[in-house]
Amino acid sequence: MSANAIPTPLRLNRTTGRTSSFLASSIGRKVVMALTGLVLFGYVVVHMLGNLQIYLGPAALNAYAVKLRAMPALLWGVRVLLFASAVLHVWAAVSLTRANVAARGIGYRERRNRESTYASRTMRWSGVILLLFIVYHLLHLTLGTVHPGFVPGDVYHNVVRGFQMGIAPFFYVLAMLALGLHMYHGVWSLMQTVGLSHPRYDRLRYAFAAFITALVVLGNLSFPIAVMTGLLKDRSSSRAATAARR
């Protein structure tokens, strides 16, 4: 440890463009994580609100689905945006997590947390659960691949029928708990990451995150629960459709 060798880039490289240096930096990747998180978060809220129409009955929900499909530009625009966001979100998460793991090769024997929350400490696990869930969810209710009685276009039937299957609702509930943890930390955390902080309003960040998370999670949980408790029932039309398929 003689003279301080300064092996690392003491100064930014002149030739590095701002985008690449931004994406290479920890804060840059955090911001990518935050902004893509914001997109995904926004989608989750809209998705939940849209799905509430299930309580208006099959006609309303299926009409909503038709309406969405009538605007392919919007639909695909959103899908591309979501896919890109998810990919970038995962990329940022993976690269940051790897950096974080590498930053402490040897851990502590004993460790007591003071300020971190269960949600903050489990982001990477809730994230993985959500990723798996999204794949399952797409196969289950969008593509119908793993659905026992998928009827293209009959969203109402697909949902109700889908949640009648043994393990599926259970997985949904678990995923929604993961979503709750992930979203609660993610929502206020993304504000911190993009620099939205003010001594007077910082406490509102938590309140907002808790409120919106509770809203989304309760809304989403209501669907499988409503099916399992029999509040939502598959109607004859759907049964007929199923029969027709046989």
């Binding site: 440890m1 003689s2 003279a3 301080n4 300064i6 003491l10 100064r11």
Partner: protein
Amino acid sequence: MELRSNVPEGPIERKWEKHRFEMKLVNPANKRKHTILMVGSGLAGASAAASLAELGYNVKCYCYQDSPRRAHSIAAQGGINAAKNYQNDGDSVFRLFYDTVKGGDYRSREGNVYRLAELSVEIIDQCVAQGVPFAREYGGLLANRSFGGAQVSRTFYARGQTGQQLLLGAYQALERQIGLGKVEMFSRHEMLDLVLVDGRARGIVTRDMVTGEIESHAGDAVVLGTGGYGNVFYLATYAKGANATAIWRAYKKGAAFANPCFTQIHPTCIPVTGEHQSKLTLMSESLRNDGRIWVPKKARDPRPPNQIPEEDRDYYLERQYPSFGNLVPRDVASRAAKRVADEGRGVGPGGFGVYLDFADAIKRLGANVIGEKYGNLFEMYERITAENPYQVPMRIYPAIHYTMGGLWVDYNLMSTVPGLHVIGEANFSDHGANRLGASALMQGLADGYFVMPYTVGHYLASNKIEKLATDHSAFRQAEAAVADRVRSLLGIGGQRSVDSFHRELGRIMWEYCGMARNQGGLETALEKIPALREQFWREAKVPGENEELNQSLEKAGRVADFLELAELICLDALERRESCGGHFREEFQTPDGEARRDDENFCHVAAWEYAGQGQKPIRHVEPLSFEYVHPSQRSYK
């Protein structure tokens, strides 16, 4: 040895300006051909290293800490003086100069002090520009407070962390130069010897404290900014690592040591709690503005303070010094505390403490007001003692806090060894026999930012300095001597820990050469110290080896040097047969117990020259003359 102060001729307010013109300059293109070794990275060292590098010199900077940001300048709380007169209360460069000379009890050099006062103004500008977050008024301009009994408000401050903020400013300037490659930084390196070639300081030998490697470094000039030597007392407000090794090695290579007995004792420290105590913590002097100091009238009164009625209390400062009361200067307050403790009236465990009571102030102003003023200090006190000063009086006791003595330097801050410059607390120059509050930071930065860049250049330009590499025999010899010494320390093979020697040395020094000294005591100390030193070299136990991080070895080397320096301090105290500032000889006091200076015989700097192992050092004298501030007796009655 000749002590030539080299203070320029002419009226005092023109000296520095004239001198700056007369000094030789190094051509800008030639600056990069010179290497300057800066030992120490506190306020003085960091500011000098950064400023010299800015000019284009190559600088190598050394510190024993793991980072230059940790030097003990960081612990200064109160503030930094500057004659800005922003408060319109009658301050001026001359007044700051006057106060400093008087506060130093007429044992400092007028020319140097005037320059210090002059430069104080520029320091503030420099620090503001660097981003030091000084306290501000609501209008955004700089705030001031009055400090240490000064009659004008000239102290600039950053909460209670002024030293920290000033040091970080200098450290950041230094890091900038490190990043630019102009300063090479050697952290965790301890200077263990000075290397002279043809009588000039040309290099140092260091030990890498991680690998144990003993390395030579050559340069064209050497600057020491290695701080004070108060840790010779073991218990002090200094950082644990603070040491005298660099200046002591320089002394043994021919640099005169001036006024070693001028040590400062701070009256408001938290008292010792037991044998395990490793250091003392200072409580800001500002507490004396509202706290009342007292002890029980009866010796060894066992009652807790709240049960001692008013008539059984002795507010001894208010009684003895009715006009200044609790605000008498540091040295006076400290000695008074010692007197009552010696009478058996001290309080707390061991009886080395006096009460600093806020009950009256709380009654008068309310706990809220007191909390606003001193809340953080009260908290710190409670953290350390587990006592709540809102409810029970604080206990305080004096402790060693600063050393005014140090290596002798001339007006250019160069020692008696050509090319060896000494700055900050490590030199002796500006504070005389007593330093005023908020003046240490000022001196460190004045030396580093504004004196070194000129006078080092002058030295380099006016001397022909040959190129030199570390394979020169002088380096080989110095390295061998250092390695030898390390080996001997590791080889003592005794049974007693280094700390226990240090503690014992501290007790001797505190007892016989502390707040009050007398001939008999000093003579006793002069017998005990060499005996302890011999015992150290026979019985100390230094575990481990050189080729590793070995904190015991580091300590041992420092304590070995303290054991020599302590003797010089006592010798100087013995020879200075007068009382002045922090040096109080019981034989020389006025009938009412105040310090009695002897201007006829001791209006001089005593500079000691090393005369060889086992020889009595030679005392040289630099007479002081006072043309502008005429000596008078201090009185605080």
